[in-house]
Assembly symmetry: C2
Homo-oligomer: 347 residues x 2
C-alpha cells in the first residue's frame, strides 16, 4: 500500500471520512483530449505494455480530474493473452478473441504458468505509486472469472451469453476448471499489482448481471469468493463491481469483498440495504447523465449523496465506465462538486 | 375477447386455475422449422403484412407447442412506419431505422393519424380468433412508448441508450411529446387488436431496464400509465413486460397493468413480492436454459413453479423471447411438462 491513510482507502474500509471520495471508472479514456493525444501515437494495448506510457495516462487523468484515486491504465483482457488466447480490437468495435474457447479440450489447453508475463502492469503501478507517494492511492484491477470467461467463450461482447451459459450447463466440470484457471492467473496478476504498491484491487464482473441468482450462486460465487479470499490476504480492501446486479448484491457480498460496486439501476440506499449496510459501496451515477446539462446532473449527484446519508463507506463513482463522447467539462464539474460539497451531506 | 374463460385469461386476472398456463415469447420464430419454411417465401415484414400468412404462423406455433395462448405474429416496430419512420432489417443484424430522430423538430414531424394503416395486424388477429374460437385465447401486443422511442432515436438496438437519454434530459418537452404520440398510436393500434378479438394486450418494454428508477418514474411512468389506462378501457387484462427491471417492478405495477412480466434476473417470488403479490405475474425462465439438457432444465422449471407456490395468477413463460438456435424439442418438452405437471405444484 502506498497511501494507507488516504480518504479513499478509509472509505473503502467503511471508516468515517470528512467528505466523500470520488474516482470514476475509465477516468483515463477517449473522452479526454490528453488521452486521445497519446492514443495517436500508441494503440490501447501498446499503452498497456509500456509502463511509462500507462503510468503517464493514469497520472494525467487523476491530476486533471483531481480525483481521490488513480486507477492503473490497463485492459481487462490482458490475462487472456498469457493464457494462450490472443485478441485484438477491431476498428470501431470491441475486442475480438481470435479463437474463442468452446470445448472442454480448449479449456484444458489454457495456460496458468505465465501470469508473470503481465509484469508490465505491476511495473506501471510502481511508477504511479512513486509519482504520487502517499498523496494519492492507486487502484489495481482485474476482470472477474465470469466476465473474463464470457469474453473467452463468446469471442467478444455479447447480448445473450448463449455460448457461455451453454458451457456452464452442459460441461460444469470444464466450466469449474476454466474458472479455477482464471482465478489462479488473476490472483497472481493482481497480487503483483498490490506488491507494486496498489492500495486496493477492483474486480470487474461487468457482465455477471446476465445471470439468474441461482446460476450466479452455483457457477460463479464459489470462484469469485476464492479470488476475493486470495486477494484479501494481500491486506488491501477489495472492490467487487458488476452491472445489472440488483438481485445479485447479497450474493456478491458473500464473497467477502469490502466494497461492492453498484450500477445506477439500483438506488444507492436500496442497494446498500440489500447488503445489510455491511461494508462500503461504490457508485452509482448513470454515466449517460454526464451528457446532461449541469442543472440536471447536479441534483442527481446530490440525490446519491443524500441516499448515502452520511454513513461511513461511500465512494462516489459512476455506475459503469465513462463513455467515449462524454463532455469533459461535466466530468470535471462533477468531481469538483463532490470534492467541495459532499462534506455538507455528511452532517 | 374470443376466449374469456380460458385458463390463460383467468390466470391473467389472478383467478385460481387448476394448472399453470404457459405460452412463450417469440414462440413463432426462427428456432422452428415450420416458421423457417414460411420465411423462405416471405420476409419478416411481408409475413406481418399478409394477414393469412401471419395468422398461419401464429396458429401453427401454438398448435405445435400446445400452449395456452397464441400471440399474434407481428413486429414491435410496425407503428414506426405509419408514424413516418421507415425501417428495414439488415442481414444478420437487428432493425435499422433509416432516419433516426434526434431533434424536437423530428418529433414534431411524426404522424399520429395513420394508425388505421396497421389494420392488417387486427385482420390477422381476426383470422386467428376465428380459427381457435373459444378454445384458445389470442394475445395482441405493442411496444411500450419508451422501448419504441429508443429504437426511433438510436436507429436500432443499443448498448448504452445515449441518444435516448440525452433526448430525455435535454429536451424533456419534446420527449413528452414523443411519448404522447407513441401512446396515441399504440393505444389505437392495440385497441383495434382487441376489437378484432384479442383476449389481452402485452406491452413490451423490453429495454426499459436501462433506466434508473428515478428516470423511469419521471420520464416513462406517466406515459406507460396513460397507455395502460386506455387499453384497460377495452376490458381485457393488460400484461406489461420489461427486462433488467428488478428495481422498476413496483413502479411498473403503478401503471395499473393486471400482469407484470418478469425476466430471469429476479427470482419469481422475489419479483412478485416486490409487486406486493398484487395481480398476476408472467415468467420467468432464462431463455438460454432451453439450450441445456432436460435434466438441467426440468429442475429450473420446477423451481419457478415452486416459487409461484400455488398462488393464483402465475402464467409460465420465459424471461425474454426464444432465441433463434434454441432446440425445438426442449421447447416442446417444457410446454408438455408445465401442462402435465404444474397442477402438482398448485397443491
Amino acid at each position: 500500500m502506498s497511501a494507507p491513510n488516504a480518504l479513499f482507502v478509509r472509505a473503502a474500509k467503511a471508516q468515517p471520512t470528512e467528505r466523500t471520495p470520488i474516482w470514476l471508472m475509465r477516468q483515463a479514456g477517449r473522452y479526454m483530449a490528453e488521452y486521445r493525444a497519446v492514443r495517436k501515437k500508441y494503440s490501447l494495448i501498446e499503452i498497456c505494455k509500456k509502463p511509462e506510457v500507462a503510468a503517464q495516462v493514469t497520472i494525467e487523468a487523476a491530476e486533471i480530474l483531481k480525483v481521490d484515486a488513480a486507477i492503473i491504465f490497463a485492459d481487462l483482457l490482458l490475462p487472456l493473452e498469457v493464457m494462450g488466447l490472443p485478441f485484438h480490437f477491431a476498428a470501431g468495435e470491441g475486442p475480438k478473441i481470435e479463437k474463442p474457447i468452446r470445448t472442454p479440450a480448449d479449456i484444458a489447453h489454457l495456460r496458468t504458468d505465465r501470469a508473470a508475463d503481465l509484469g508490465y502492469v505491476a511495473e506501471a503501478v510502481k511508477l504511479v505509486c512513486k509519482h504520487f507517494g502517499d498523496r494519492l492511492p492507486v487502484i489495481g484491477f482485474c476482470g472477474a472469472p465470469f466476465t473474463l470467461a464470457s469474453y473467452m467463450i463468446e469471442g467478444g461482447g455479447s447480448r445473450n451469453y448463449v455460448f457461455t451459459k451453454k458451457m456452464m450447463y452442459s460441461s460444469p466440470g470444464a466450466w469449474d476448471e476454466l474458472m479455477r484457471k482464471l482465478v489462479s492467473v488473476t490472483a497472481e496478476y493482481s497480487g503483483e499489482q498490490v506488491r507494486a504498491g496498489a492500495d486496493t484491487i477492483q474486480i470487474f464482473d461487468s457482465w455477471v448481471g446476465c445471470l439468474s441468482v441461482e446460476d450466479y450462486r452455483r457457477y460463479v460465487l464459489p470462484h469469485a469468493t476464492d479470488l476475493v479470499s486470495r486477494l484479501r490476504k494481500t491486506g488491501v480492501p477489495i472492490i467487487y463491481f458488476g452491472t445489472d446486479s440488483a438481485t445479485l448484491l447479497p450474493s456478491m457480498k458473500e464473497t467477502g469483498a469490502e466494497v461492492v460496486g453498484l450500477d445506477w439501476r439500483v438506488p444507492l440506499d436500496t442497494g446498500w440495504q440489500s447488503l445489510g449496510f455491511r461494508g462500503a459501496v461504490q457508485g452509482n451515477l448513470d454515466p449517460v447523465l454526464l451528457f446532461a446539462e449541469w442543472k440536471e446532473l447536479k441534483p442527481r449527484a446530490e440525490d446519491i449523496l443524500r441516499r448515502a446519508a452520511g454513513r461511513p463507506g461511500h465512494i462516489f463513482n459512476l455506475g459503469h465506465g465513462i463513455l467515449p463522447e462524454t463532455p469533459v467539462d461535466n466530468v470535471k464539474a462533477l468531481c469538483a462538486f463532490i470534492r467541495e460539497h459532499s462534506a455538507e451531506f455528511k452532517k
